[in-house]
């Protein structure tokens, strides 16, 4: 398990509810525009009503996404996540409201140029049945006129990235792949031309935990190198915590229930709905964001010699897991060289969590 905390570059959004209420407000994040290659995406009271439906699926949705931010949408099925995404690359036109990318109304942009800059992983996967896997992945690079060798290299690279052996799968047709394999090809296809913006609609839903974790780690590594602006839909809250710089928790009709960093949300769920959405084990989930290294630890002697141990770079969640595997007493903390360097107890863990939550709450209060 990789150790994730909110990436340091992510600035806390000034009161997110303000944006949720519609008026896009300038944020600190806009100051670091030059550092990122992603784009700034602003939704301004965007609504979409499907013809024949009584209510709008997306209702006055407002949100500011800073360049290079990894935003995760979570929300009940049918709340309008897919619809919202499709409006960003103009697969669907909003009934009302405006979406801008880097300040330009997307309606003023050339549709196709816009879309080529936006990688899109569609929920239904949507591989082209008449093309091999390699051909499916090569589509956008071809559109952009890449050379044959460059495309071939890229296809191999991407297939490896999504854990599919190129020699085995490049020449197959989609119907010859399992569901999860197809989904990964969909992700590879969207990444192909390295677009600055990605829309990912439940991209890892059908992949097994091991592969999924590898993909998540790859994505985070990628994201730390080239900061794309990513909108990512998932139903797995732990995935949201792990990946998102910020999480948007949506209610029915894309009502924004909470828009904040994972840590803030875990520390202070905005309302019961959000708490329910996070599910049981709120605190345990929160521990996954905190590291042993950042915790005030006890002396080595506090733990029994034969006590369980945990690495210093592990998360507190792993530490707690180790604590209960013994008898609940303090355990050893090992340094990089696997040498005992300190001990950690249930109280240490609880205190660190308490401090974290308090810090978040004060921060909230200040704003």
């Amino acid at each position: 398990m990789s150790n994730v905390s909110s990436p340091p570059t992510v600035s806390a959004q000034s009161n997110p509810q303000a944006t949720a209420e519609g008026a896009p407000v300038p944020t600190r994040a806009s100051l670091r525009k030059e550092a990122s290659v992603g784009a700034r995406i602003v939704f301004d009271k965007v609504s979409k009503k499907y013809s024949g439906q009584a209510e709008s699926a997306v209702n006055e949705f407002s949100l500011v996404i800073e360049p290079g931010e990894f935003i995760v949408f979570v929300g009940p099925s049918g709340c309008g996540k897919t619809t919202t995404m499709k409006m960003v690359n103009r697969i669907i036109e909003p009934t009302s409201g405006i979406i801008t990318i880097d300040g330009t109304d997307i309606r003023d942009l050339d549709e196709n140029k816009l879309r080529r800059k936006i990688g899109y992983v569609i929920q239904q996967i949507g591989l082209f049945p008449h093309m091999t896997i390699a051909e499916n992945i090569a589509i956008v690079p071809k559109l952009l006129g890449w050379s044959k060798e460059r495309i071939a290299d890229r296809v191999v690279e991407l297939l490896e990235l999504v854990e599919l052996d190129p020699t085995e799968y490049a020449k197959r047709y989609p119907k010859e792949l399992s569901g999860g394999q197809q989904q990964r090809v969909g992700v590879a296809r969207a990444l192909a031309a390295d677009p600055p913006v990605m829309l990912m609609d439940e991209p890892f839903g059908a992949t097994d935990p091991i592969t999924r974790e590898k993909l998540q780690d790859e994505f985070l590594a990628l994201q730390s190198r080239i900061k794309k602006t990513i909108i990512f839909v998932t139903h797995d809250f732990e995935e949201a915590i792990k990946l998102g710089d910020k999480i948007v928790i949506l209610g029915p009709r894309t009502n924004i229930e909470q828009f904040d960093t994972p840590a803030h949300i875990l520390a202070a769920p905005a309302n019961d709905y959000v708490a329910e959405f996070i599910g049981s084990g709120l605190n345990l989930k929160h521990l996954a964001l905190l590291e042993v290294a950042d915790t005030e630890l006890g002396p080595v002697g506090a733990a029994a010699k034969d006590a369980a141990s945990v690495g210093i770079d592990a998360t507190l969640r792993d530490a707690l897991d180790a604590v209960i595997s013994g008898d609940g007493l303090p355990i050893l903390v090992l340094d990089e060289n696997e040498q005992p360097t300190a001990s950690i107890s249930i109280e240490d863990i609880a205190k660190r969590l308490g401090a974290e939550i308090e810090a978040m709450e004060t921060e909230e209060g200040v704003k």
């Binding site: 013809s51 024949g52 009584a54 119907k175």
Partner: protein
């Protein structure tokens, strides 16, 4: 209580649906063109003044009405019979999974399509005698192939995951066919039928050569006796027939297309 809910669901859902004929689904241009053609024809006739003795034989309501009716009757029944045979054959061929059956049936259909209709008509007339029955046989042979081919392609193009889902539910082959495959292939099959209908209306102009009636007689007389007014009358009426019948089938197609597919 449950029933009320279900009933309410039906009632609630059905009234807010927009008409399935919204947009240009009604294709009004087709009847519009044919009306325009007929109007032009009428103006042409009125402006020409008194017809000569040859023209009077053909250009009267009695004659035209009868010819129009027999043309309609011949061509529509031929197209319908062709479809009624070709669709089941197509279905059978996609099930039989036999190269021989496939090749055999397509060969017969190809021959039917390729043999000149006039030849088939005359030779059949010598064998079977003259009249509408013989004409219909020839027309059926002529309009068979488009329905057959489109039925094959349509059925083969149905998303296999849907067939798997249906099989997984324990639907019998026939049930899958009627409830899933045919509805999903319908658009392509109907497209074949529309082509067949046009083929059959066009070829029915030749029915006159074996005393089977139709507008072909007007066309032949017009052509052979060099009477443009008669020729035009026949040709325009046939064209109008094509447009209007094609339009009607189009309406039927839209009406029959399940809403989930449009």
């Amino acid at each position: 209580m449950k029933k009320e809910v279900a009933a309410a669901a039906v009632a609630a859902a059905s009234h807010k649906r927009p008409s399935r004929f919204r947009g240009n689904k009604l294709q009004w241009e087709l009847p519009a063109i044919s009306i325009a053609m007929l109007a032009a024809l009428s103006i042409f006739h009125i402006s020409r003044g008194t017809p000569d003795s040859i023209e009077t034989v053909v250009l009267n309501w009695n004659y035209v009405g009868e010819a129009l009716w027999s043309h309609l009757w011949l061509s529509v029944s031929a197209a319908v019979i062709a479809a009624a045979i070709a669709i089941p054959v197509g279905v059978f061929l996609t099930r039989a999974n036999s190269k021989w059956a496939m090749t055999g049936a397509l060969t017969v259909a190809n021959i039917g399509q390729a043999t000149p209709v006039i030849g088939v008509l005359v030779i059949l007339a010598l064998i079977l005698g003259i009249g509408p029955g013989t004409a219909i046989i020839a027309l059926v042979a002529f309009s068979f192939l488009p329905v057959l081919r489109n039925t094959l392609v349509g059925l083969q193009g149905v998303d296999p995951t849907l067939i798997q889902a249906a099989r997984g539910m324990g639907m019998r082959k026939s049930q899958i066919l009627f409830a899933i495959e045919l509805p999903l292939a319908a658009q392509k099959i109907i497209s074949g039928f529309r082509t067949a209908l046009v083929f059959s209306i066009g070829a029915a102009t030749l029915a006159t050569f074996i005393n089977a009636g139709g507008l072909g007689e007007a066309i032949v007389i017009g052509l052979k006796l060099n009477r443009i007014s008669i020729l035009l009358t026949g040709a325009v009426l046939v064209s109008a027939l094509v447009l209007i019948l094609d339009w009607l089938v189009g309406i039927l197609e839209v009406a029959m297309t399940p809403r989930g597919l449009d």
